[in-house]
Symmetry: C2
Subunit: 447 residues, 2 copies
């Protein structure tokens, strides 16, 4: 709330206020809040603000600007302004920013930077976005095991401008391989003259550059980490991932799973029109083909007996409830697999429970529907029984498929979040229509 | 992989190995890995391991044990063992553990603890689980603004046993109100004789005990925090939330949203049978009522003209595709609202895009279905046109409802993740059946 008021006030200042007034106001705001403000300003307001800020502040603010706005802002800055800002950014944010530019522009920006920055940023840009290498930053403090604690503190001081967020220092051997880690707390508690070898933790949790970001997030989740050192394929320490980036990874991975469950690949909340259509098309096609098969099946049933028309009104309900209950079980299993809560040990325990839940819900709703059909339906009295029984069996099958399909896809190394839903609706449509109409045909034959 | 092998090896040791062999093996394992092992052992194995470990290790390990196992393990420990372990735990983990016990057992455990621990744990247990107060820990280092940096470092050293994870120290005034924060990095870089007032950041980001955990997570996400101080309703500093707990909150909140979208409240991946049935019943009821209304509607339409039966086979497809496309748009909006990516500014931009996507997908699949109907359908030739056109309109309406419903529920302060889905399927069923059959009746009248 307070931040919201600050932002309204600054919006006013940018239009009417003097430079000093704006600068003293910016001082009390967090870069994330300034970034928010920038996003909501028009081009001239953004220019004024960015020109007023010193490079370090501009670098911090631009690191916080979100994707669709970032591209726009970056394209409006002059190459020399951009170079100064990039030079003051953490290497991971700098690499992200440069990935918004053309190859030519990147070369122009890097040409003005000093050699060390260029090497660091170039190294980071080589790694795919969704790996440890793609989310790590190159800035870190590393020393030899024979260094003393007070030498380590001197080194942190020497690198204070470069390495701004630091929770751990790393200890490396002569070939730059990681041999230990020490937290700032351990350094503070230790005797300044003791050597790092006696202070550091030797059993270091680490990642390789090509580790998938989801697996990196699992390490943070499991071991309650604040940062994680990253080594290249030869075991050389090349960077570290910090927990603030992991928070973003967790959001991103959950976003992805949400959209996948709803039938959309490679899409983000803020994707463009064309990307959204392309992302949703294949899944809808799979589901559409399944429903088309069901249509043909229903047509064949209706051809076989005219009296089946009396049963038609309840058909969408039986198919739809099957999809709902199957979807619920599938969600529990898919999400459990994604977060690692459902390991092999608990998988069958949950599977049995889900089948029981489906049967219980089937019995309840089957009974309810049977009673309703008795009053609403126009068919033979046996119709109520058929309708109720079909729904019960349908929901039991739905929960079972909802559990088994994601487990099977997981075993087959197919992403269960993506593959499960269209299969379930197709199976439940075909099973439901066949079950319901077959039972109906038996009754019609008798009555 | 390596951890997996360690765990297999220790499983063997617990059965055949000597005490010393087990202890030296435990030393190289992280408490999270030992917790995993404990979960997979039988009762006698668990007992043996817990008795072998010192209290501090046991406390660290039990803090990592997950819910369904925690209750079981805790109930098998003697009260005096439990008290010693609880005394060595961080206050937030201790409060979580005690919440598994009966009031009587809690009193028995607390009776053996020292007064400070009892006060801290008692304070934490008063707060609802999903608030800042429910996830904070009481352990922190706080000093006055007039203290020097070297006094702060002495204080960190003095509390080393109590406050084990520390990234920031807090600065309070005489009435224990928070006035500043300093990171360990800032303490290391500062002159040891300078006073905290000159080192600390005065514009502190903080939470109140009753802040919802989702909002707390938003603060971490927005400001890239490692820990966040918590004050009580009078502004007194009472605890801090650390980022490792926020990682759990993010998982938990995403779990909740996943299950809500699938139509389940108050459920977790590992919920019991009864809880799952109860959690899913209300949403299914809402959806079931909607479908029952559709059934009655379909019955009325079929009564009005016998020829409508020719159109029946494609009905489930038109209703089902509406549900799919509406669900996709709803997922984008619900998730965008949950993560804060869709603020008021971007809402309409995304809304227009989604409607366009719905129309485009509608046009594509409408055309495809029209062509199929031409070959598959047995009705008049105009039928292909009706089927195709109905699907096009249905999908455009579906995307529009998928966008608007969650926005409306959000404005009404109703949880869009929970309310949206049953409404969308109901609307799409009623709209789809009415649209399709009404258009069909016009053609039948003509032909």
């Amino acid at each position: 709330m307070e931040q919201k008021r600050d932002i309204d006030e600054l919006t006013r200042l940018v239009v009417e206020g003097g430079d000093q007034e704006i600068l003293s106001f910016l001082k009390i705001l967090h870069p994330a809040d300034i970034a928010d403000l920038l996003e909501s300003l028009d081009d001239s307001g953004r220019r004024r603000l960015l020109e007023l800020m010193d490079h370090q502040t501009a670098a911090d603010v631009i690191s916080e600007v979100e994707d669709p706005y970032l591209e726009d802002m970056v394209k409006r800055l002059r190459i020399d302004e951009l170079s100064k800002i990039v030079g003051d950014m953490d290497s991971d944010d700098a690499a992200d920013l440069l990935s918004e530019l053309s190859d030519e522009e990147v070369r122009a920006v890097l040409a003005i930077l000093d050699a060390e920055d260029v090497a660091e940023i170039g190294e980071l840009m080589r790694h795919p976005e969704d790996t440890a290498g793609g989310i790590m930053q190159a800035e870190l403090v590393a020393l030899k095991a024979s260094s003393t604690v007070s030498q380590a503190i001197d080194e942190i001081r020497a690198q204070a401008d470069e390495v701004r967020k630091i929770h751990n220092i790393y200890v490396v051997d002569d070939s730059e391989k990681l041999v230990g880690v020490a937290s700032l707390r351990e350094l503070i508690l230790a005797d300044p003259n003791s050597i790092l070898d006696s202070v550091m933790t030797k059993n270091v949790i680490k990642a390789r550059v090509d580790m998938d970001q989801e697996e990196v997030a699992d390490q943070f989740r499991r071991y309650d980490l604040v940062s994680l050192p990253v080594e290249d394929v030869n075991g050389k320490l090349v960077g570290r991932v910090t927990v603030d980036d992991i928070v973003d990874v967790l959001d991103e991975e959950a976003d992805e799973d949400f959209l996948k469950m709803a039938g959309s690949v490679e899409e983000e909340v803020l994707s463009s029109f064309g990307k959204s259509v392309r992302a949703r098309f294949p899944w809808l096609l799979a589901s559409w083909i399944g429903m088309l098969i069901t249509s043909v099946l229903i047509g064949k049933f209706l051809d076989s007996s005219e009296k089946l028309i009396l049963f038609v009104p309840f058909l969408p309900l039986i198919l739809g409830m099957g999809g709902n209950v199957g979807g619920q079980s599938a969600t529990v299993v898919v999400r459990g697999i994604a977060t690692g809560k459902l390991d092999a040990r608990r998988m069958w325990q949950v599977a049995y429970k889900e089948m029981g839940v489906g049967f219980a819900l089937g019995a309840i709703y089957g009974l309810l529907l049977g009673v309703c059909a008795l009053f609403l339906g126009q068919g033979p009295n046996m119709m109520a029984l058929i309708v109720g029984l079909s729904l019960t069996i349908q929901l039991a099958i739905a929960a079972t498929s909802g559990v088994l399909l994601p487990i099977i896809f997981h075993r087959l190394n197919t992403d269960p979040a993506l593959a499960t839903a269209p299969f379930i609706t197709t199976i439940m449509d075909i099973v439901g229509a066949t079950l319901y109409f077959s039972m109906a045909l038996i009754v019609i034959g008798r009555s």
